[in-house]
Amino acid sequence: MTNSEPLLDVRDLSVTFTRKGGPTVRAVDGVSFTVRPGETVGLVGESGSGKSVTSLAVMGLLPRRGVQVGGQVLFDGDDLLTLPRDRMRDIRGRDIAMVFQDPMSSLNPVVPIGVQVTEVLERHQELKGEAARSAAAELLSRVGIPDPNRRLKEYPHQLSGGMRQRALIAMALACRPRLLIADEPTTALDVTIQAQIIELLKELVQDTGASLVMITHDLGIVAGLCDNVHVMYSGRVVESAGRRELFAQPRHPYTGGLLGSVPRLDAPRGAPLHPIPGSPTDVLRWDHGCAFAPRCQNRVDACLDGPPPLEAYAGRSLRCLNPLTESEEVSV
């Protein structure tokens, strides 16, 4: 997998929402990252940082009205942003699949699971009738749904949340995608079910060689799953690193702040938490300076002069004028 050409190459992606009478919202502001074949990439950040909008832009699923998308999304060399709609529809489903946080929103409530899975198989694998049906049952059992033949006849509401998410993953896999984008696929699930799903995703990536983009706010999931991690804040990537480098020594004050504020199950009890002051709504607009400046303990005057650039630093990419040094390593 080393040095292979990226499968997905997102370049300077920006997404702006304009609402009549309302202010324009730049939800994604010059985001770049790559995903190589077989690689698992994490996008992390708090609510509103632009993770979902980034993935929707990649999938071509943003509403067309009131949205401006800039930059490039190269998939296998083609720019998905300029592709005709029908070609995009082909790629979506066949080459790129997506799993959302709320499986109910992507399942049709009045159609049995089996019909929904076989439909995908018929469309993308050109399987028919009995062959499609037995392939569907096999897929369900592959993702760990017991008694798949019975489940195929059931409707989405008859399945538990965890099972629905599995069914959705089964559908996403039905077309053997080369890239799977999972947007908080386990956030609504219990931690024991989450562990099942993450294990499943890991296996699938290993077995099929697909690439995975994992969107989450949970640094723990990223630590166990992703090869490379991009931390987003207010629509921009502020730190990108291999997971070992990132967790061993976060350099961006926001990354460090996140790590310092989550209680760790294995930390000695009584270890203090170090919250980030303020809230994610206390942002500065990037063109006025670093968006994190209002909450940053490392702020220097220059941070308010304009947007800090994303630069190579200490084996990673970093958007910060006064990075954390080793002595400031977050205490856990």
């Binding site: 017991p146 219990d190 024991t192 996140l258 199950l265 919250p275 809230s279």
Partner: protein, 374 residues
């Protein structure tokens, strides 16, 4: 002896210096059906035989999966929902025996903080009015404006917040208002139901720290309900693990982490992601099969037996285990599993498929740095 309820009777136990003591608590919600004549056709056993002691000044944490009955237990303690059986003793008084005015007076001592601060705040009331309402309701005189300013100060909000409305605040600030309201009457016990789970990661720690600070300052006793084991372990002195209406393990926080004894706790603990690749790469995981069974039709015997990787041919399916002490562990560490000694000694091993060993040879990842600034 099959499917008996809960632990030994209250008299058999040393009277804990408890502020709150719960014995044999049950909350069964009726399931009704029928179009013309409604009949009860069954019941949801949301809480089904719980014993719990909360020492004065302590924090007890309650964890468990969605639907296991945590909120119902918390609400039943405050009698926001009527228990169908059992006792709740608060500061020596049997709460279930209280009615009307007496109960209302007692409620001053017991307050609740909710998960969604917005849902529990009236959007049309400004903060001054939200915070002085409990004072009015309990006929407390004095200068309410001054008291509200004081409350705001205690929870870290500026005095100017009094004239603003809930929607003008961020999630974390709203939770501060929710906490200020809960402490307005100087209660002894606060039941906090998922107080941080709706908040952004960076804000959670602020609220956790605030709760801890207030405890020191005001001598509060907490029952903190959360599904996040890491948060609970951080904040609680004692952790109770709940599964399908009953407690399966209860222990001082450090003991529970160092030596989880119940198979469910082991699985739960191994499932919690830890933000550290070194740890994640070397952990063993115990994966559970399937989902939480329905509390309307809980499995007989040990409620966990349908998912337990350590399940045995005998006892598990027909005899409900009670919380008990285990030789070699402190008395405060109690477990409801028939086979805990054998499991601990390694005489009973988990089913093969349930254990995911760490990758013996994790790929030395990130041979290539992610693309630097394009």
């Amino acid at each position: 002896m099959s499917d008996q309820t809960a632990a030994p009777a209250a008299e058999e136990r040393a009277p804990a210096e408890g502020l709150l003591s719960v014995r044999g608590l049950e909350v069964h919600f009726p399931i009704r059906s029928g179009i013309l004549v409604e009949r009860q056709v069954g019941s949801v056993k949301a809480v089904d035989g719980v014993d719990l002691d909360i020492p004065r000044g302590a924090t007890v944490g309650l964890v468990g999966e969605s639907g296991c009955g945590k909120s119902t237990l918390g609400r039943a303690i405050l009698r926001l929902v009527e228990p169908t059986a059992g006792t709740v003793t608060f500061d020596g008084t049997d709460l279930r025996a209280l009615g009307g005015e007496e109960l209302r007076r007692m409620r001053r001592q017991l307050q609740m903080v909710f998960q969604d601060p917005m849902a529990s705040l009236d959007p049309r009331q400004n903060v001054q009015s939200v915070l002085s309402e409990p004072l009015r309701a309990h006929g407390i005189g004095g200068d309410h404006r001054a008291r509200v300013r004081e409350l705001l100060d205690v929870v870290g909000l500026p005095a100017s917040a009094a004239n603003r409305y809930p929607h003008e605040f961020s999630g974390g600030q709203r939770q501060r208002i929710g906490i200020a309201r809960a402490i307005a009457l100087e209660p002894q016990l606060i039941v906090a139901d998922e107080p941080v789970s709706a908040l952004d990661v960076s804000i959670q720690a602020q609220v956790v720290n605030l709760l801890e600070e207030l405890q020191d300052r005001l001598g509060l006793t907490y029952l903190v309900i959360a599904h996040d084991l890491a948060v609970v372990r951080h904040i609680a002195d004692v952790v109770a693990v709940m599964y399908l209406g009953g407690l399966v393990e209860q222990a001082p926080s450090d003991d529970l982490y160092a030596t989880p004894l119940h198979p469910y706790t082991k699985a739960l603990m191994s499932a919690v992601p830890i933000p550290d690749p070194e740890v994640e790469d070397t952990r063993q995981r115990i994966l559970l099969q399937g989902d939480l069974p329905s509390p309307a039709d809980p499995p007989a015997g040990c409620r966990f037996h349908t998912r337990c990787p350590f399940r045995q041919q005998t006892r598990c399916a027909d005899e409900r285990p009670v919380l008990r002490t285990v030789a070699g562990h402190p008395d405060a560490h109690r477990v409801a599993c028939h086979w805990v000694e054998d499991i601990e000694a390694g005489r009973i091993r988990p089913a093969a498929g349930a254990v995911v060993e760490p990758d013996p040879d994790p790929e030395p990842d990130a041979e290539h740095a992610p693309n630097p600034a394009a």
